[in-house]
């Protein structure tokens, strides 16, 4: 799986896969949650620079991780969204929930 992350001074950057669907979502949730648990995350960044496709399964991944990080006072944002993913964010209301750059 093309899944990567970087940790730096309380910032966890999750590199999203090429296609974020239900299949990929299961794996990412598990990985991300174990990282969040092990590491005191003050800010969580979802990096979509490699992501070409996302459907509604991706929404659950983001909202779920947001809850986990915000519970401990952390900050969440999403970066490098292509047009298709921006539409998914807009339609689902994710734009109102997390900062997008």
């Amino acid at each position: 799986m093309e899944y990567k992350f970087e940790k730096d001074y309380g910032c966890l950057m999750l590199k999203m896969p090429r296609e974020l669907d239900h299949h990929a979502a299961e794996y990412i949730k598990e990985e991300a949650d174990s990282l969040i648990l092990q590491y005191p995350v003050r800010s969580l960044v979802f990096d979509f620079s490699d992501t070409q496709f996302m459907d509604s399964s991706g929404i659950g991944v983001i909202i779920g991780r947001c809850k986990n990080v915000r519970f401990s006072g952390g900050y969440v944002k999403a970066v490098n969204l292509n047009e298709q993913i921006q539409r998914v964010f807009q339609l689902s209301g994710l734009m109102k929930i997390i900062d997008v750059e």
Partner: protein, 143 residues
């Protein structure tokens, strides 16, 4: 352009690896209509939502098959996604945005809302313990 008519059918196991396969296969089939990047993304997202529903809800991630029938009639694409799973008790409720029967799986309840947003028409026929058939239509090159 001449009046196009084409049709294809496929059957595959209801497992999550096939979600990507299904949307790419349908995308390749509709390519002859020269859809825009946005139109193609719309169709792939809608197919992905329908197939994911079969796997998660229809079969509850147990064994089963998914059938896709896809036809082109002029500039209109019609896609039917069928399972023989547990069916939907209340279709109207299921189509409401944010409604989900599986919040524990972090399902957003946006599947049908996405299909409706990305396609021109969405029809749902379902019977408990018989299965569900979702038919979606979209005209390509309308704008």
């Amino acid at each position: 352009m001449e009046h196009l008519k084409n049709e294809m059918k496929m059957e595959f196991l209801a497992i999550s690896t096939n979600e990507g396969f299904a949307r790419v296969a349908v995308g390749a089939f509709v390519a002859e209509l020269n859809p825009t990047v946005d139109e193609l993304a719309d169709i792939k997202t809608a197919v992905s939502e329908a197939v994911t529903n079969c796997i998660i809800h229809g079969y509850e991630q147990k064994e089963g098959s998914v059938w896709i029938q896809c036809s082109i009639q002029g500039r209109q694409v019609e896609i039917s996604v069928t399972d023989t799973g547990k069916g939907i008790r209340d279709i109207e409720k299921a189509r409401e945005p944010l409604f989900t029967t599986k919040p524990e799986l972090e399902r957003s309840g946006m599947g049908f809302a996405f299909m409706e947003a990305f396609m021109d028409e969405v029809e749902v026929v379902s019977e408990p313990w018989k299965g569900t058939c979702v038919t979606m239509r979209k005209t390509i090159g309308e704008a």
